[in-house]
């Protein structure tokens, strides 16, 4: 810009021109957009109604026959509740897995630990109760698997004595 703007008046004038031009442009553009849009929307509404109402998907001439056959087959075969069966199986498997985990955590495999724990329990509890020993005697070693490990230990002690 070769001409220097020096006074406040000149700056104001320039700003005001820009504002005037900008405002005119915006108003004109808005009017145009609104005019076009309302026209477009009317046409769009028509297109939408046309497309939405369209009911011309091809229908197989054999559709009715095929459907009758399918209905008859469905009537013959009572659907087996596979979904329910699957849920029951999964629930059972989950219970078994939890049971095994709990058993493993509570009763470790190490026989030494079992013996030590059981001995400790026997010393501090009433596992040496004569009734239990009598029961163990009467059951014999064949039935020992029916008892928990505390009772098994009591049984072993009873048999040993």
């Amino acid at each position: 810009m070769d001409k220097k703007i020096t006074t406040d008046d000149q700056i104001d004038q320039l700003l005001s021109q820009q504002i005037t031009v900008g405002q005119n442009f915006t108003d004109a553009a808005l009017r145009r957009v609104q005019a076009n849009r309302s026209e477009d929307l009317d046409t769009l509404d028509e297109y939408l109604d046309l497309f939405l109402a369209k009911n011309n998907a091809p229908v197989d001439p054999q559709f009715t026959e095929k459907t009758i056959k399918r209905v008859q087959n469905a009537h013959k075969t009572i659907p087996f509740p596979w979904a329910l069966l699957t849920k029951i199986t999964l629930a059972t498997a989950a219970c078994l897995a939890f049971g095994l985990f709990w058993n493993q955590a509570t009763f470790p495999d190490n026989p030494q630990t079992i013996t030590t724990q059981s001995q400790a329990k026997l010393e501090n509890s009433n596992f040496q109760d004569e009734r239990l020993i009598a029961l163990a005697d009467s059951l014999g070693s064949e039935a020992s698997w029916l008892l928990n490990e505390d009772a098994q230990t009591a049984l072993v002690i009873a048999l040993a004595n």
Partner: protein
């Protein structure tokens, strides 16, 4: 295909046909299928964009209608009843499709529904419309299709969709706004 003049059953309304179907009248079932196959197939086709699935689901609707015929109570219009079944199947299908990868639409399948007189511009807009329709949430799409394609009332649509009339109106308004927005550059 039967016409009202050929077959006395064709003159019966849907509720009377259902009573006959409950007594294992196959001819009545045939008339009911003939009467409703077009609306159902078109409804499913517009919603799912697959003719095979649309046909399959329409058949399942009739299987269910047949199975339930003995217990059927005409408490609402038959259209409400049959589209209620259709909509439940549609939701199941959407869930099923969400669990498996999407299959691309066969262009041949798209072309099949165009009339021979469709010009290129309309075809282009319609393809864009199909794509836009696919993006709309299920409740909005079902509501606008039941209104415009099946010509059902707001009240019927609300019953079918287990929703209030105002909710249905909102869904339809949003669907329309979305479709307009998607197509505004094409028209």
């Amino acid at each position: 295909m039967t016409t009202p003049g050929d077959d006395p059953l064709a003159d019966l309304d849907d509720i009377a046909l259902m009573a006959r179907i409950a007594e294992s009248d196959e001819a009545a079932l045939r008339v009911l299928i003939d009467r409703w196959k077009n609306p159902l197939i078109n409804f499913f086709y517009r919603s799912l964009h697959s003719y095979e699935t649309a046909e399959d689901l329409s058949q399942v609707v009739f299987v269910r209608v047949h199975r339930a015929a003995k217990k059927y109570q005409p408490t609402a219009k038959f259209s409400t009843y049959i589209f209620h079944i259709a909509r439940r199947l549609l939701i199941n299908e959407y869930r099923h499709q969400q669990r498996k990868p999407l299959t691309p639409v066969d262009p041949e399948d798209l072309r099949n529904i165009k009339g021979p007189d469709s010009d290129r511009d309309v075809r282009e807009i319609e393809e864009a419309f199909e794509q836009a329709l696919e993006k709309i949430p299920e409740n909005q799409k079902t509501a606008i299709l039941l209104l415009k394609q099946q010509q059902l009332s707001y009240q019927e649509i609300a019953t079918i969709m287990d929703a209030s009339e105002s909710a249905v109106k909102t869904w339809i308004f949003r669907a329309r706004q979305f479709l307009k927005q998607e197509l505004k550059d094409l028209v």
